[in-house]
Subunit: 215 residues, 2 copies
Amino acid sequence: MLHGMTTSAPAGRRDRKKAETREALRWAALRLALEHGYEQLTVEAITEAADVSLRTFFNYFTSKDDALLGPDPDRAALLAAGLAERPAGEAPVVALRAVFCELAESFAERQPMWQARMELVRANPQLWPQMHAGFTEFERTLTAAVAARTGCDPAVDLYPGVVAAAAVGAMRVAVAQWRATGGSASLPDLVTSAFDVLAAGLTAPSPITTQGASR
Amino acid sequence: MLHGMTTSAPAGRRDRKKAETREALRWAALRLALEHGYEQLTVEAITEAADVSLRTFFNYFTSKDDALLGPDPDRAALLAAGLAERPAGEAPVVALRAVFCELAESFAERQPMWQARMELVRANPQLWPQMHAGFTEFERTLTAAVAARTGCDPAVDLYPGVVAAAAVGAMRVAVAQWRATGGSASLPDLVTSAFDVLAAGLTAPSPITTQGASR
DNA sequence: TGCATTGTTGCGTGACGTGCAAGTTTGGGT
DNA sequence: ACCCAAACTTGCACGTCACGCAACAATGCA
Protein backbone atom coordinates (compact mmCIF):
# COMPACT_ATOMS: atom_id res chain seq x y z
CA MET A 1 0.00 0.00 0.00
CA LEU A 2 1.08 3.54 0.54
CA HIS A 3 3.40 4.61 -2.21
CA GLY A 4 6.72 4.03 -3.78
CA MET A 5 8.06 2.59 -0.56
CA THR A 6 11.51 4.02 -0.93
CA THR A 7 13.84 2.23 1.44
CA SER A 8 13.36 -1.51 1.36
CA ALA A 9 12.62 -3.70 4.34
CA PRO A 10 15.45 -3.43 6.85
CA ALA A 11 14.72 -6.05 9.46
CA GLY A 12 11.80 -7.69 11.17
CA ARG A 13 8.11 -7.15 10.88
CA ARG A 14 8.19 -4.77 13.80
CA ASP A 15 10.43 -2.26 12.10
CA ARG A 16 8.50 -2.57 8.89
CA LYS A 17 5.21 -1.82 10.59
CA LYS A 18 6.78 1.10 12.33
CA ALA A 19 8.09 2.61 9.12
CA GLU A 20 4.73 1.94 7.52
CA THR A 21 2.85 3.80 10.23
CA ARG A 22 5.31 6.67 10.04
CA GLU A 23 4.88 7.04 6.30
CA ALA A 24 1.13 6.65 6.55
CA LEU A 25 1.01 9.53 9.01
CA ARG A 26 3.29 11.64 6.84
CA TRP A 27 1.22 11.10 3.74
CA ALA A 28 -2.08 11.54 5.50
CA ALA A 29 -0.85 14.85 6.91
CA LEU A 30 0.38 16.10 3.55
CA ARG A 31 -2.70 14.96 1.67
CA LEU A 32 -5.14 16.51 4.13
CA ALA A 33 -3.16 19.72 4.34
CA LEU A 34 -3.21 20.05 0.58
CA GLU A 35 -6.88 19.17 0.35
CA HIS A 36 -8.33 21.32 3.09
CA GLY A 37 -5.57 23.78 3.88
CA TYR A 38 -3.01 23.94 6.63
CA GLU A 39 -5.23 25.90 9.00
CA GLN A 40 -7.99 23.32 8.91
CA LEU A 41 -5.65 20.41 9.50
CA THR A 42 -5.85 18.81 12.93
CA VAL A 43 -3.82 15.99 14.37
CA GLU A 44 -7.03 14.11 15.03
CA ALA A 45 -7.88 14.15 11.34
CA ILE A 46 -4.43 12.81 10.52
CA THR A 47 -4.76 9.94 12.95
CA GLU A 48 -8.20 9.05 11.63
CA ALA A 49 -6.88 8.96 8.08
CA ALA A 50 -3.97 6.78 9.14
CA ASP A 51 -6.18 4.70 11.43
CA VAL A 52 -4.15 5.01 14.61
CA SER A 53 -4.94 6.60 17.90
CA LEU A 54 -4.31 10.25 18.51
CA ARG A 55 -1.77 9.37 21.14
CA THR A 56 0.21 7.25 18.74
CA PHE A 57 0.78 10.21 16.49
CA PHE A 58 2.89 11.80 19.17
CA ASN A 59 4.97 8.66 19.48
CA TYR A 60 6.21 9.39 15.97
CA PHE A 61 6.14 13.15 15.63
CA THR A 62 6.47 15.90 18.15
CA SER A 63 4.11 18.20 16.32
CA LYS A 64 1.94 18.61 13.27
CA ASP A 65 4.68 20.57 11.56
CA ASP A 66 7.12 17.80 12.26
CA ALA A 67 4.95 15.37 10.31
CA LEU A 68 4.53 17.79 7.43
CA LEU A 69 8.00 19.17 7.02
CA GLY A 70 10.14 17.34 9.51
CA PRO A 71 13.63 16.44 8.50
CA ASP A 72 14.65 13.23 6.82
CA PRO A 73 17.75 12.46 8.85
CA ASP A 74 19.14 9.96 6.38
CA ARG A 75 19.38 12.45 3.57
CA ALA A 76 21.88 14.69 5.32
CA ALA A 77 24.05 11.69 6.04
CA LEU A 78 23.89 10.60 2.40
CA LEU A 79 24.99 14.06 1.37
CA ALA A 80 27.99 13.95 3.67
CA ALA A 81 28.87 10.48 2.45
CA GLY A 82 28.67 11.64 -1.14
CA LEU A 83 31.02 14.47 -0.38
CA ALA A 84 33.51 12.13 1.23
CA GLU A 85 33.63 10.09 -1.97
CA ARG A 86 34.69 13.00 -4.15
CA PRO A 87 38.39 13.08 -5.08
CA ALA A 88 40.48 14.79 -2.44
CA GLY A 89 42.15 17.19 -4.83
CA GLU A 90 38.91 18.58 -6.15
CA ALA A 91 38.10 22.19 -5.39
CA PRO A 92 35.51 22.44 -2.62
CA VAL A 93 32.97 24.30 -4.70
CA VAL A 94 33.25 21.76 -7.52
CA ALA A 95 32.80 18.84 -5.18
CA LEU A 96 29.84 20.50 -3.54
CA ARG A 97 28.22 21.27 -6.84
CA ALA A 98 28.51 17.68 -7.90
CA VAL A 99 27.07 16.35 -4.68
CA PHE A 100 24.18 18.79 -4.65
CA CYS A 101 23.41 18.03 -8.26
CA GLU A 102 23.02 14.40 -7.34
CA LEU A 103 20.75 15.44 -4.52
CA ALA A 104 18.80 17.59 -6.94
CA GLU A 105 18.22 14.63 -9.19
CA SER A 106 16.88 12.55 -6.34
CA PHE A 107 14.60 15.43 -5.45
CA ALA A 108 13.31 15.89 -8.95
CA GLU A 109 12.96 12.32 -10.07
CA ARG A 110 11.22 10.07 -7.69
CA GLN A 111 10.18 12.03 -4.67
CA PRO A 112 6.45 12.74 -4.63
CA MET A 113 6.85 13.81 -1.04
CA TRP A 114 8.99 16.73 -2.06
CA GLN A 115 6.53 17.78 -4.71
CA ALA A 116 3.78 17.67 -2.11
CA ARG A 117 5.88 19.65 0.33
CA MET A 118 6.73 22.26 -2.26
CA GLU A 119 3.10 22.69 -3.12
CA LEU A 120 2.15 22.89 0.53
CA VAL A 121 4.67 25.62 1.23
CA ARG A 122 3.65 27.49 -1.89
CA ALA A 123 0.03 27.47 -0.77
CA ASN A 124 0.91 28.37 2.83
CA PRO A 125 3.73 30.90 2.99
CA GLN A 126 3.59 30.83 6.79
CA LEU A 127 5.43 27.53 6.54
CA TRP A 128 8.41 28.99 4.72
CA PRO A 129 10.42 29.60 7.88
CA GLN A 130 9.60 26.12 9.05
CA MET A 131 10.95 24.59 5.89
CA HIS A 132 13.89 26.95 5.99
CA ALA A 133 14.70 25.66 9.43
CA GLY A 134 14.55 22.13 8.10
CA PHE A 135 17.69 22.81 6.14
CA THR A 136 19.45 23.40 9.42
CA GLU A 137 20.22 19.73 9.63
CA PHE A 138 21.89 19.76 6.23
CA GLU A 139 24.03 22.66 7.18
CA ARG A 140 25.35 21.16 10.37
CA THR A 141 26.36 17.84 8.89
CA LEU A 142 27.77 19.57 5.84
CA THR A 143 29.88 21.80 8.03
CA ALA A 144 31.38 18.72 9.62
CA ALA A 145 31.95 17.10 6.24
CA VAL A 146 33.70 20.15 4.83
CA ALA A 147 35.82 20.41 7.94
CA ALA A 148 36.87 16.80 7.56
CA ARG A 149 37.71 17.36 3.91
CA THR A 150 39.85 20.41 4.47
CA GLY A 151 41.30 19.59 7.85
CA CYS A 152 39.81 22.67 9.46
CA ASP A 153 38.40 22.76 12.95
CA PRO A 154 34.88 24.18 12.65
CA ALA A 155 35.17 25.50 16.19
CA VAL A 156 38.09 27.67 15.16
CA ASP A 157 37.86 28.24 11.43
CA LEU A 158 35.01 30.09 9.83
CA TYR A 159 35.65 28.37 6.53
CA PRO A 160 33.61 25.16 6.88
CA GLY A 161 30.59 26.93 8.27
CA VAL A 162 30.58 29.63 5.63
CA VAL A 163 30.96 27.09 2.84
CA ALA A 164 28.17 24.94 4.22
CA ALA A 165 25.86 27.91 4.69
CA ALA A 166 26.54 29.19 1.19
CA ALA A 167 26.04 25.78 -0.38
CA VAL A 168 22.82 25.03 1.44
CA GLY A 169 21.61 28.53 0.68
CA ALA A 170 22.33 28.07 -3.01
CA MET A 171 20.48 24.78 -2.97
CA ARG A 172 17.56 26.39 -1.19
CA VAL A 173 17.31 29.22 -3.70
CA ALA A 174 17.54 26.81 -6.60
CA VAL A 175 14.75 24.72 -5.16
CA ALA A 176 12.63 27.81 -4.60
CA GLN A 177 13.15 28.84 -8.21
CA TRP A 178 12.33 25.34 -9.33
CA ARG A 179 9.13 25.46 -7.36
CA ALA A 180 8.30 28.85 -8.86
CA THR A 181 8.49 27.33 -12.30
CA GLY A 182 6.17 24.55 -11.25
CA GLY A 183 8.88 21.96 -11.70
CA SER A 184 9.26 22.66 -15.39
CA ALA A 185 12.87 23.83 -15.16
CA SER A 186 15.69 21.37 -14.62
CA LEU A 187 16.59 21.36 -10.97
CA PRO A 188 20.13 20.10 -11.55
CA ASP A 189 20.66 22.92 -14.03
CA LEU A 190 19.38 25.46 -11.54
CA VAL A 191 21.66 24.06 -8.87
CA THR A 192 24.60 24.27 -11.24
CA SER A 193 23.84 27.90 -11.99
CA ALA A 194 23.48 28.73 -8.33
CA PHE A 195 26.86 27.20 -7.55
CA ASP A 196 28.37 29.11 -10.44
CA VAL A 197 27.47 32.29 -8.61
CA LEU A 198 29.29 31.03 -5.54
CA ALA A 199 32.30 29.90 -7.52
CA ALA A 200 32.57 33.32 -9.12
CA GLY A 201 32.77 34.99 -5.74
CA LEU A 202 29.31 36.51 -6.09
CA THR A 203 30.36 38.62 -9.05
CA ALA A 204 28.45 38.93 -12.29
CA PRO A 205 25.08 40.57 -12.30
CA SER A 206 24.62 39.46 -15.87
CA PRO A 207 24.42 35.99 -17.32
CA ILE A 208 22.59 33.81 -14.83
CA THR A 209 18.92 33.54 -15.61
CA THR A 210 16.34 30.83 -15.34
CA GLN A 211 15.81 30.85 -19.07
CA GLY A 212 19.01 31.52 -20.94
CA ALA A 213 17.49 34.44 -22.84
CA SER A 214 19.41 37.68 -23.16
CA ARG A 215 16.39 39.96 -22.65
CA MET B 1 12.30 52.31 32.55
CA LEU B 2 13.10 49.20 30.63
CA HIS B 3 16.44 49.54 28.92
CA GLY B 4 18.36 51.41 26.33
CA MET B 5 15.19 52.31 24.51
CA THR B 6 16.66 52.12 21.06
CA THR B 7 14.37 53.93 18.68
CA SER B 8 13.23 57.27 20.07
CA ALA B 9 9.63 58.31 20.57
CA PRO B 10 7.84 58.22 17.22
CA ALA B 11 4.50 59.87 17.87
CA GLY B 12 1.89 60.15 20.57
CA ARG B 13 1.71 58.65 24.00
CA ARG B 14 -0.33 55.78 22.65
CA ASP B 15 2.39 54.51 20.36
CA ARG B 16 4.96 54.99 23.06
CA LYS B 17 2.98 52.92 25.51
CA LYS B 18 2.51 50.27 22.91
CA ALA B 19 6.19 50.02 22.16
CA GLU B 20 6.86 50.03 25.87
CA THR B 21 4.54 47.12 26.51
CA ARG B 22 6.03 45.25 23.59
CA GLU B 23 9.55 45.68 24.86
CA ALA B 24 8.51 44.86 28.40
CA LEU B 25 7.07 41.57 27.20
CA ARG B 26 10.17 40.85 25.13
CA TRP B 27 12.50 41.47 28.01
CA ALA B 28 10.40 39.63 30.51
CA ALA B 29 10.33 36.61 28.23
CA LEU B 30 14.08 36.66 27.67
CA ARG B 31 14.91 37.23 31.32
CA LEU B 32 12.63 34.48 32.58
CA ALA B 33 13.78 32.06 29.92
CA LEU B 34 17.40 32.64 30.89
CA GLU B 35 16.64 32.42 34.60
CA HIS B 36 14.49 29.33 34.72
CA GLY B 37 15.02 27.69 31.35
CA TYR B 38 12.99 27.65 28.20
CA GLU B 39 10.97 24.61 29.20
CA GLN B 40 9.73 26.18 32.42
CA LEU B 41 8.71 29.41 30.73
CA THR B 42 4.97 29.98 30.39
CA VAL B 43 3.16 32.85 28.77
CA GLU B 44 1.38 33.48 32.02
CA ALA B 45 4.68 34.08 33.79
CA ILE B 46 5.68 36.54 31.10
CA THR B 47 2.47 38.50 31.44
CA GLU B 48 2.79 38.61 35.21
CA ALA B 49 6.32 39.93 34.94
CA ALA B 50 5.22 42.56 32.45
CA ASP B 51 2.04 43.25 34.42
CA VAL B 52 -0.46 42.78 31.63
CA SER B 53 -3.19 40.26 31.11
CA LEU B 54 -2.53 36.96 29.48
CA ARG B 55 -4.79 37.92 26.63
CA THR B 56 -2.82 41.07 25.92
CA PHE B 57 0.28 39.04 25.25
CA PHE B 58 -1.34 37.59 22.18
CA ASN B 59 -2.21 41.04 20.93
CA TYR B 60 1.52 41.58 20.52
CA PHE B 61 2.98 38.19 19.77
CA THR B 62 1.54 35.16 18.12
CA SER B 63 3.49 32.75 20.28
CA LYS B 64 6.03 32.41 23.02
CA ASP B 65 8.77 31.87 20.47
CA ASP B 66 7.75 35.00 18.66
CA ALA B 67 8.38 37.06 21.80
CA LEU B 68 11.74 35.42 22.40
CA LEU B 69 13.20 35.29 18.91
CA GLY B 70 10.73 37.05 16.68
CA PRO B 71 12.07 39.22 13.91
CA ASP B 72 12.83 42.88 14.24
CA PRO B 73 11.32 44.14 10.98
CA ASP B 74 13.08 47.49 11.07
CA ARG B 75 16.53 45.99 11.02
CA ALA B 76 16.10 44.32 7.67
CA ALA B 77 14.89 47.58 6.19
CA LEU B 78 17.91 49.42 7.60
CA LEU B 79 20.16 46.85 6.02
CA ALA B 80 18.54 47.30 2.64
CA ALA B 81 18.75 51.08 2.96
CA GLY B 82 22.44 50.83 3.82
CA LEU B 83 23.05 48.74 0.75
CA ALA B 84 21.26 51.26 -1.44
CA GLU B 85 23.63 53.97 -0.23
CA ARG B 86 26.77 52.16 -1.36
CA PRO B 87 28.35 53.45 -4.58
CA ALA B 88 26.78 51.86 -7.62
CA GLY B 89 30.05 50.76 -9.15
CA GLU B 90 31.12 48.79 -6.09
CA ALA B 91 31.37 45.02 -6.42
CA PRO B 92 28.40 43.32 -4.78
CA VAL B 93 30.45 41.35 -2.32
CA VAL B 94 32.35 44.46 -1.24
CA ALA B 95 29.19 46.44 -0.71
CA LEU B 96 27.64 43.60 1.22
CA ARG B 97 30.67 43.20 3.42
CA ALA B 98 30.60 46.88 4.27
CA VAL B 99 26.93 46.85 5.11
CA PHE B 100 27.13 43.73 7.20
CA CYS B 101 30.13 45.09 9.05
CA GLU B 102 28.06 48.08 10.04
CA LEU B 103 25.35 45.72 11.17
CA ALA B 104 27.92 43.75 13.11
CA GLU B 105 28.98 46.87 14.97
CA SER B 106 25.43 47.64 15.95
CA PHE B 107 25.09 44.06 17.13
CA ALA B 108 28.25 44.17 19.16
CA GLU B 109 27.98 47.60 20.65
CA ARG B 110 24.63 48.42 22.08
CA GLN B 111 22.38 45.41 21.75
CA PRO B 112 21.88 43.59 25.05
CA MET B 113 18.92 41.89 23.46
CA TRP B 114 21.16 40.10 21.03
CA GLN B 115 23.48 39.00 23.78
CA ALA B 116 20.49 37.64 25.65
CA ARG B 117 19.21 35.86 22.57
CA MET B 118 22.58 34.33 21.83
CA GLU B 119 22.84 33.05 25.36
CA LEU B 120 19.31 31.70 25.23
CA VAL B 121 19.94 29.77 22.05
CA ARG B 122 23.25 28.49 23.36
CA ALA B 123 21.56 27.15 26.45
CA ASN B 124 18.61 25.69 24.51
CA PRO B 125 19.73 24.16 21.23
CA GLN B 126 16.13 23.27 20.42
CA LEU B 127 15.70 26.94 19.53
CA TRP B 128 18.38 26.90 16.86
CA PRO B 129 15.97 26.25 13.99
CA GLN B 130 13.66 28.92 15.31
CA MET B 131 16.39 31.51 15.28
CA HIS B 132 17.63 30.21 11.96
CA ALA B 133 14.20 30.76 10.52
CA GLY B 134 14.20 34.28 11.85
CA PHE B 135 16.81 35.16 9.27
CA THR B 136 14.26 34.46 6.58
CA GLU B 137 13.08 38.04 6.78
CA PHE B 138 16.61 39.35 6.29
CA GLU B 139 17.12 37.18 3.31
CA ARG B 140 13.96 38.25 1.53
CA THR B 141 14.52 41.96 1.85
CA LEU B 142 18.16 41.52 0.97
CA THR B 143 17.23 39.60 -2.14
CA ALA B 144 15.06 42.50 -3.21
CA ALA B 145 17.83 44.99 -2.44
CA VAL B 146 20.41 43.08 -4.46
CA ALA B 147 17.97 42.72 -7.31
CA ALA B 148 17.38 46.47 -7.32
CA ARG B 149 21.12 47.10 -7.28
CA THR B 150 21.92 44.82 -10.17
CA GLY B 151 18.77 45.19 -12.20
CA CYS B 152 17.94 41.51 -11.97
CA ASP B 153 14.47 40.15 -11.59
CA PRO B 154 14.54 37.83 -8.56
CA ALA B 155 11.67 35.86 -10.05
CA VAL B 156 13.83 35.00 -13.05
CA ASP B 157 17.46 35.31 -12.00
CA LEU B 158 19.01 33.12 -9.38
CA TYR B 159 21.68 35.69 -8.68
CA PRO B 160 19.99 37.94 -6.09
CA GLY B 161 18.70 35.03 -4.07
CA VAL B 162 21.98 33.19 -4.03
CA VAL B 163 23.88 36.32 -3.05
CA ALA B 164 21.43 37.12 -0.27
CA ALA B 165 21.49 33.56 1.05
CA ALA B 166 25.26 33.45 1.00
CA ALA B 167 25.60 36.82 2.70
CA VAL B 168 23.10 36.07 5.43
CA GLY B 169 24.68 32.69 5.91
CA ALA B 170 28.12 34.22 6.28
CA MET B 171 26.75 36.66 8.80
CA ARG B 172 25.08 33.86 10.69
CA VAL B 173 28.23 31.79 10.89
CA ALA B 174 30.25 34.80 12.00
CA VAL B 175 27.78 35.52 14.76
CA ALA B 176 27.84 31.90 15.83
CA GLN B 177 31.61 31.97 16.02
CA TRP B 178 31.44 35.23 17.91
CA ARG B 179 29.09 33.66 20.40
CA ALA B 180 31.39 30.67 20.73
CA THR B 181 34.19 32.97 21.81
CA GLY B 182 31.92 34.56 24.38
CA GLY B 183 31.98 37.88 22.60
CA SER B 184 35.72 38.27 23.01
CA ALA B 185 36.52 38.25 19.31
CA SER B 186 35.75 41.22 17.11
CA LEU B 187 32.50 40.60 15.33
CA PRO B 188 33.27 42.98 12.46
CA ASP B 189 36.57 41.17 11.92
CA LEU B 190 34.81 37.83 11.87
CA VAL B 191 32.26 39.14 9.40
CA THR B 192 35.06 40.42 7.19
CA SER B 193 36.76 37.03 7.23
CA ALA B 194 33.51 35.26 6.43
CA PHE B 195 32.90 37.50 3.43
CA ASP B 196 36.46 36.92 2.28
CA VAL B 197 35.57 33.26 1.89
CA LEU B 198 32.63 34.21 -0.29
CA ALA B 199 34.68 36.67 -2.33
CA ALA B 200 37.27 33.99 -2.99
CA GLY B 201 34.66 31.67 -4.45
CA LEU B 202 34.83 29.30 -1.47
CA THR B 203 38.46 28.41 -2.20
CA ALA B 204 41.23 28.35 0.36
CA PRO B 205 41.13 25.91 3.19
CA SER B 206 44.05 27.68 4.82
CA PRO B 207 44.26 31.13 6.28
CA ILE B 208 40.93 31.95 7.90
CA THR B 209 40.95 31.26 11.60
CA THR B 210 39.37 32.83 14.61
CA GLN B 211 42.69 33.56 16.20
CA GLY B 212 45.39 34.37 13.68
CA ALA B 213 47.65 31.61 14.96
CA SER B 214 49.33 29.32 12.48
CA ARG B 215 49.24 26.00 14.36
C1' DT C 1 -16.13 68.42 26.64
C1' DG C 2 -17.86 64.80 23.46
C1' DC C 3 -16.88 61.12 20.39
C1' DA C 4 -14.62 57.83 17.39
C1' DT C 5 -10.64 55.01 17.45
C1' DT C 6 -7.79 51.92 19.47
C1' DG C 7 -5.86 49.09 23.10
C1' DT C 8 -6.91 46.02 27.17
C1' DT C 9 -9.22 42.52 29.66
C1' DG C 10 -11.99 38.30 31.06
C1' DC C 11 -14.31 34.47 29.42
C1' DG C 12 -15.03 30.52 26.67
C1' DT C 13 -13.37 27.14 23.43
C1' DG C 14 -10.80 23.95 20.69
C1' DA C 15 -6.45 22.13 19.79
C1' DC C 16 -1.77 20.94 21.24
C1' DG C 17 1.63 18.07 23.58
C1' DT C 18 3.05 14.99 27.30
C1' DG C 19 3.14 11.71 31.50
C1' DC C 20 1.30 7.59 33.12
C1' DA C 21 -0.50 3.01 33.45
C1' DA C 22 -2.65 -0.12 31.50
C1' DG C 23 -3.21 -3.63 27.25
C1' DT C 24 -1.22 -5.77 22.97
C1' DT C 25 2.16 -7.35 19.69
C1' DT C 26 6.73 -8.95 18.46
C1' DG C 27 11.29 -11.37 18.72
C1' DG C 28 14.12 -14.48 21.07
C1' DG C 29 15.29 -18.10 24.19
C1' DT C 30 14.28 -22.75 25.94
C1' DA D 1 5.29 -25.11 21.20
C1' DC D 2 5.81 -22.26 25.04
C1' DC D 3 6.93 -18.30 27.74
C1' DC D 4 8.99 -13.95 28.77
C1' DA D 5 10.93 -9.52 28.24
C1' DA D 6 11.07 -5.68 25.31
C1' DA D 7 8.75 -2.52 22.54
C1' DC D 8 4.61 -0.51 20.55
C1' DT D 9 -0.18 1.16 21.01
C1' DT D 10 -3.94 3.03 23.40
C1' DG D 11 -7.03 5.70 26.64
C1' DC D 12 -7.11 9.00 30.14
C1' DA D 13 -5.92 13.12 32.42
C1' DC D 14 -3.79 17.38 32.73
C1' DG D 15 -1.75 21.86 31.69
C1' DT D 16 -0.67 25.03 28.17
C1' DC D 17 -1.39 27.38 23.91
C1' DA D 18 -3.77 30.47 20.79
C1' DC D 19 -7.64 32.81 19.36
C1' DG D 20 -12.67 34.77 18.81
C1' DC D 21 -15.76 37.62 21.10
C1' DA D 22 -17.83 41.32 23.64
C1' DA D 23 -17.41 44.54 27.28
C1' DC D 24 -14.37 48.09 29.33
C1' DA D 25 -10.79 51.78 29.49
C1' DA D 26 -7.57 54.92 27.54
C1' DT D 27 -6.26 57.99 23.92
C1' DG D 28 -6.36 61.46 20.13
C1' DC D 29 -9.01 64.87 17.94
C1' DA D 30 -12.51 68.35 16.99
